[in-house]
């Protein structure tokens, strides 16, 4: 069971965003699951909380869709690890999903920014 600390500022990931983050991370080069998790957390300045179980399932899902491929290898500190690489199909998906996400974020931003409710403002 995932427990979340209430006084943590981390944001639980929205459904579907994890896939995009993984694709983006792997676009920089092949990496193992632990690395992906660390990278996502670090690059979001620790704002995202990545549930590791979900991460691995997402990796498996993407692999099943053939957006990424996987291979057992050895990490820089000589540990056995499973390395994921973006496929051509994954690259195309990354472009498409990034576009989608940007449009969504923009739309959300517009809605949220333009509707101030003056009554609520306290003097």
């Amino acid at each position: 069971m995932t427990t979340q600390d209430n006084n943590d500022d981390r944001i639980a990931l929205l459904q579907g965003t994890l896939d995009l983050l993984i694709l983006k991370t792997l676009a920089l080069g092949s990496c193992h699951g632990q690395g992906v998790a660390r990278l996502i957390q670090r690059q979001s300045e620790e704002a995202f909380f990545v549930d590791h179980g979900s991460l691995y399932l997402a990796l498996q899902r993407l692999e099943d869709k053939k957006w990424i491929s996987a291979k057992w290898g050895v990490s820089e500190n000589n540990r056995k690890a499973r390395f994921y690489t973006l496929t051509q199909k994954g690259r195309e998906q990354l472009v498409e999903k990034t576009g989608e996400w940007r449009r969504l974020a923009r739309a959300m931003g517009m809605v949220l920014d333009n509707h101030h409710v003056p009554n609520r403002e306290e003097a």
Partner: protein
């Protein structure tokens, strides 16, 4: 590497490596080895859950869950075995009875013949035969010239197939040294090819075989199995049919037992042209066989519609041809005669036996009611059980079970019940149809087939859904909080719920009244039929058929005279006689007769038909029918003495009123044979038990110019059947080829004519009884449950001074109210049912008071018995204990 499934181990490995990598990194950040590992695991979250999710990812998760639910449901049912067994048995009985009756209905009314494209096959029928003809069945049999004319055209029907039994019942066959009896048909060469029946072994017949009257035979698969143990060597062997050698050339496809339901044909031979093998086993008439006697309508015709031709078109095309062929050998139609009209009927196995349709529909309705009672019973049991489980459900909800999970549990429980009940029901139905077939004397298979299976599965699926969903409302009514704050006294008193239960019980009681009245009427019909006076003393009578080959008429007389002499001389035999038509076997010879030289006058539209029989001396003495006037045939009446005949009272009353009938002459309608009446006998039954008195006349076998197979009637001391081995020896001294055909007691023979009514009544009685048992268990269950729910209430009542008698009365009053409501509803319904049954009743009125009173009393007794135990339990409630329970 094509998308091979990744193993769980591999996934576990990856998680392990993740944890190691994370720990390494944490160590680099300055944590101790132990802390690093701990934190890595903490950060990861629940490894187990991740692994389980991975496991479920590529599995049919639903199936897995279902299996778990099933196991759980099984455990929960095992905790209340009484409930489970009652529910399963109730379901099995209700469903089994339905499956069995539907199976019979399917076999008799719905199933098509096991032939190629049965929908293109038709039975040829006629409105009536032309006047001046003899028929076997006035709508379904045809003369040879009609067959010949129809088969030689190919515009409307192609091919036209003729078949005719070699005997009214069974024929003598011999394979080894011992003679036996079997059912055989003579058929046209197109029989197997035209019907599209395969022959897994050997060959069928060709049109050439018909033309040549080839001495060959095809066995039915059933006969081959029963008699020849599926010996393939049987091909090429000889089967003697009425002493004529036939070479066995083929075995017909499994399941094909002829085109008529109710009997199963054992073998077929091509149409023959010899006196030993005449149609229906009759002796030649004026030296003419079925094929040359154009006025004997004896062949049954079945045909295939020509390609692209509809029934109406075929009838239109063939009508003129048929009507001209009908008068071949008769000349032109008589003045004012209605010409026969051709029609084509469904080629269903029981196409002609519509008399079975009505009883079967009524039975189906009855078992439908039984099933309804059974289903409501189980639903009520389930609801009662789940109401007591409400706290269990609430607890489950409180502990985090979803409503979906509860629903799954309930559906699984019902699935288990329905599966177990259904399997039992099927076994029950298979056994029941076998017994039903024996009782109804239907020799063809009634076993459930795929249609029946589908019917049962559909009914079971419906039951399963009903059982799963009905209690759901109760189960979900319980909120999670309820678990903690309720007690039996408050949680289980729900007015709405108990109202539903009361309505259901009332309806059940009403249906029970209907079934009991129906059953009662039919059982009284059966009693009436069984007790109908036959006009003779059948105790001590045994009957069997013999069909010797008779070369000439004098030889025939000599043979029977010899046989009678030998049989009469046997020890333990009181008297012996022979008759052409076996009495009590549905057979009779019907014709108009001349009285004093002319056809008697009858009032407008009345029938002139006389049922006649050909018998020997001692006929009436053997049967025990009193001779009212004159004498009966004696051995001294023979071919050289004046022709003598006998009549019954009804004949005298109808055709010779107000005069002494003795000495008047009667004779055949063509005037070629006359005889003097020498005796009048009391009316008695001839064809069947339920027949009304009808004019009857008897010829002396030793005087008429015609002789064939006979039935021997023996009156013996002691067990009638015990004489058969000795009688068989006597017959076989005469001719080793002769079996005793259908030997049985005369009582059994007469009972075959009411076997359907008896079967019908017994089944109706069984279903009525079944309904009573089901209603009793249902009522008991409901009341017992209500009493147990009210234990606390009763405790309070008694604590504040209610006496035991008052408590008992409270419970009994409840069930008496329900019963009277049920009776009030049931009686008018029963009247409707009784009205529908009118045609099937004999000697009972549809409003038979006794049946109604018995049914009502029966229902009351059942209701009171079912309430007695709960009432007693209520009375024995200990107030202190009751109040302390919660």
């Amino acid at each position: 590497m094509f998308n091979r499934k990744r193993s769980q181990q591999d996934f576990a490995e990856e998680i392990k490596s993740h944890l190691e990598l994370e720990a390494d990194e944490l160590k680099r950040e300055g944590l101790s080895d132990e802390d690093a590992h701990r934190q890595a695991r903490c950060e990861f979250g629940n490894v187990r859950v991740a692994q389980e999710r991975f496991y479920l990812r590529d599995r049919w998760a639903f199936f897995d869950k279902a299996l778990r639910d099933l196991r759980f449901a099984f455990r929960s049912l095992r905790q209340s075995p009484g409930f489970a067994i009652t529910a399963i048995l109730t379901l099995a009985l209700g469903m089994g009875a339905n499956t069995a009756v539907f199976s019979v209905m399917n076999a008799v009314l719905l199933r098509s013949l096991p032939v190629d494209h049965p929908e293109r096959l038709v039975f040829v029928q006629t409105s009536n035969p032309p006047m001046g003809t003899g028929t076997v069945d006035s709508n379904l049999t045809f003369s040879y010239p009609v067959y010949d004319a129809l088969r030689n055209q190919n515009r409307g029907l192609s091919p036209v197939i003729a078949y005719v039994p070699l005997s009214g019942n069974k024929v003598a066959v011999r394979y080894g040294p011992e003679p036996e009896e079997a059912e055989g048909d003579m058929v046209s060469g197109t029989f197997f090819s035209g019907l599209g029946v395969n022959l897994p072994l050997g060959r069928g017949f060709s049109e050439q075989d018909e033309t040549d009257h080839a001495a060959i035979a095809v066995l039915s698969y059933n006969y081959w199995t029963r008699r020849f143990a599926r010996e393939p060597d049987v091909l090429g062997k000889t089967l003697f049919v009425n002493g004529v050698p036939m070479t066995i050339v083929g075995i017909a496809a499994q399941g094909f037992e002829g085109v008529e339901g109710g009997s199963s044909t054992d073998f077929w031979i091509p149409l023959q042209n010899r006196r030993e093998l005449n149609a229906w086993g009759n002796p030649p008439e004026d030296g003419k066989l079925y094929s040359t006697n154009s006025t004997w309508w004896c062949l049954r015709l079945i045909a295939r519609l020509a390609p692209g031709v509809s029934r109406t078109q075929a009838v239109a095309q063939l009508q003129p041809l048929f009507q001209s062929a009908a008068y071949i050998g008769l000349g032109s139609p008589m003045q004012g005669e209605k010409p026969p009209v051709l029609s084509l009927g469904d080629a269903k196995p029981y196409g002609s036996e519509q008399k079975l349709a009505r009883p079967l529909h009524i039975l189906m309705a009855m078992v439908g009611l039984v099933l309804l009672i059974a289903l409501t019973n189980v639903v009520m049991l389930l609801m009662a059980r789940n109401a007591t489980r409400q706290r269990e459900f609430s607890l489950r909800l409180a502990l985090g079970a979803g409503r979906g999970a509860l629903l799954r549990l309930l559906l699984m429980e019902s699935l288990l019940l329905v599966t177990a009940g259904g399997a039992l029901a099927w076994a029950f139905a298979v056994a029941a149809t076998r017994i039903l077939g024996q009782w109804a004397q239907i020799e063809s298979s009634l076993a459930p087939d795929r249609t029946v299976l589908l019917f049962t599965l559909a009914a079971l699926a419906l039951a399963g859904l009903l059982f799963g969903l009905a209690p759901l409302r109760v189960a979900l009514a319980g909120k999670a909080e309820l678990a903690l704050k309720t007690s039996a006294a408050t949680s289980n008193c729900d007015a709405g719920k108990s109202r539903t239960g009361r309505i259901v019980v009332t309806l059940q009681l009403a249906m029970c009244v209907v079934l009991l009245v129906g059953g009662g009427l039919l059982i009284r019909t059966m009693r009436n039929l069984e007790n109908t006076p036959l006009g003779m003393d059948v105790n001590g009578l045994v009957v069997f058929g013999v069909k010797p080959n008779i070369a000439s008429i004098p030889e025939g007389y000599a043979l029977y005279a010899g046989l009678l002499g030998k049989l009469r001389a046997m020890p333990g035999v009181e008297s012996v006689t022979i008759m052409e038509e076996r009495i009590g076997a549905w057979w009779s010879d019907n014709s108009d007769m001349r009285v004093d030289g002319r056809l008697p006058d009858v009032a407008n539209g009345a029938s002139r038909t006389v049922r006649s029989n050909v018998v020997s001396s001692d006929f009436f003495r053997t049967l025990g029918v009193p001779v009212l006037a004159g004498r009966e045939f004696a051995d001294s009446d023979n071919v050289n003495s004046p022709h003598v005949g006998m009549i019954n009272e009804e004949f005298a009353k109808r055709f010779l009123p107000n005069t002494n009938p003795l000495g008047h002459t009667i004779g055949t309608d063509d005037g070629r044979y006359t005889m003097t009446i020498i005796g009048v006998v009391k009316d008695h039954k001839y064809r069947s038990i339920d027949e009304e008195p009808i004019p009857m006349a008897w010829y002396d076998y030793a005087q008429i110019p015609y002789i064939g197979g006979m039935n021997v009637e023996m009156r013996v001391h002691g067990d009638p059947l015990a004489i058969l081995p000795a009688a068989r020896k006597v017959v076989q001294q005469l001719d080793p080829n002769l079996p005793l055909i259908k030997p049985m007691t005369q009582r059994d023979q007469f009972n075959t004519t009411i076997s359907q009514q008896i079967l019908f009544a017994r089944l109706a009685g069984c279903f009525g009884f079944l309904a009573v048992v089901l209603v009793a268990t249902g009522l008991y269950g409901t009341l017992a449950y209500r009493v147990s729910m009210r234990t606390a209430e009763i405790g309070v009542r008694m604590a504040v001074g209610a006496r035991r008698g008052q408590v008992v009365w409270m419970i009994l009053r409840d069930s008496l109210l329900l019963t009277s409501a049920g009776v009030v509803m049931g009686v008018p319904l029963a009247m409707l049912v009784g009205h529908a049954l009118t045609a099937s009743l004999y000697g009972v009125k549809p409003l038979d008071a006794i049946s109604y009173v018995l049914a009502v009393v029966g229902v009351c007794v059942v209701a009171l018995t079912a309430s007695a135990v709960p009432a007693a339990r209520a009375a024995s409630v200990d107030p202190l204990k009751a109040l302390r329970t919660d």
